[in-house]
Symmetry: C2
Subunit: 224 residues, 2 copies
């Protein structure tokens, strides 16, 4: 696997020692997330919206309505910035100045391409399989009209940076700070609650294994 | 409290029925979050980074290094888009098409202003109090050098949209979908783990009440 290239867009400028150029770290950040924030430039201003994501090889897939102005602009070639952040905890240092959030994030710069009609259903199933593994076997197939109403965009993971300050528990020995002040990390993690059944479901319908396993997956990795 | 204005920037274009114009809903989204994604335009491309946030009245405060190119551009008047997203769950509908993420998000469009030196320490304490309530009493005061090295930006909450699809469990009666397929919500929530003490802390130093209460606060609201 090739390293992520350091370019004018991807070189981390602040806290550069937290930058990771290992491509597998990028994949881990994306694979461990259900959603990211997708930013574009519209009329010279930034606009950033939350989107569901799924990795497909060296790309990230996102989907939206074919009627969405935001997605249409991206389809027409507007550059995007996809930011995926895992908030892992709060770092309580011995001063406010050195205190911080503990996080891992990926920032992807790209021009997306529209997934062509012939590949759209497969791409939607890839998204579904990441967001709700196994669910496609529980429900009816997509209709051609549903597939037609959805736009799928492919965002290449070619130019991306990963920043991870999770290792920053270590203190400098001679920083002069008072060791009798407690310092440490408060870990934060995502978990899933009990599934809530829609009241219109036929009474007695069990919660499917796909939903149970989605909850277990969130619990295992601690992120959505 | 005045409603949030519907402008060209804030009118939700897709899923407009999920838009909330109640200003208190915006405050709730911001107050329930530790971090957001801050986007700017740099060299005609979008760039979006995760930032810690805290509300101060009708503004959001963010802070960064005075040496940060990203923050300097914002200080110089680059328009920002601040996106704050709470992922609340997965909605398992009876079709993949109607399935979605359950979320609440705020999107703020603004030009930020730099908090002047005389107000910076107070603004930093506001940020600290939101991100780590009570912690400022545990640690030494900030030094003038630390305050000087930090830039605080004030983002007005004047032009913002809030979107909340958490009520979308309800199904349309005559949608033709098979009610023997399970449908419902898998709730997602944030929780805090046990605090991890930095090994350089004097042995026996107890975990402060401020850290314990931060963990309780995350547990109570289910978001970071």
């Amino acid at each position: 696997m090739t390293d992520l290239p350091l370019t004018a867009l991807t070189r981390v400028r602040r806290g550069a020692h937290h930058q990771i150029t290992d491509r597998s770290a990028l994949y881990d950040v994306v694979d461990g997330a259900l959603a990211g924030t997708l930013a574009i430039v519209r009329d010279d201003r930034p606009v950033a919206l939350p989107v569901g994501i799924a990795r497909d090889g060296d790309d990230v897939l996102v989907h939206g309505s074919t009627g969405s102005d935001f997605f249409r602009r991206i389809a027409a070639g507007a550059p995007v910035c996809l930011t995926v952040t895992h908030l892992l905890g709060l770092k309580y240092a011995r001063s406010l100045f050195d205190s911080s959030m503990r996080y891992r994030c990926a920032i992807v710069h790209a021009v997306a391409s529209v997934v062509p009609p012939a590949e759209k259903e497969t791409a939607l199933l890839t998204l579904s399989e990441h967001l709700m593994p196994g669910r496609s076997d529980d429900v009816r197939p997509m209709t051609p009209r549903e597939v037609a109403a959805t736009m799928v965009l492919r965002i290449p993971l070619a130019e991306a940076s990963v920043k991870d300050n999770a290792g920053s528990l270590v203190e400098v020995d001679d920083d002069g700070e008072d060791r009798s002040v407690w310092a440490g990390i408060l870990p934060l993690r995502m978990s899933a609650g009990e599934p809530v059944t829609s009241p219109q479901t036929v009474p007695g319908t069990p919660v499917p294994a796909s939903v149970r396993s989605a909850a277990e997956r969130v619990a295992a990795r601690g992120t959505a």
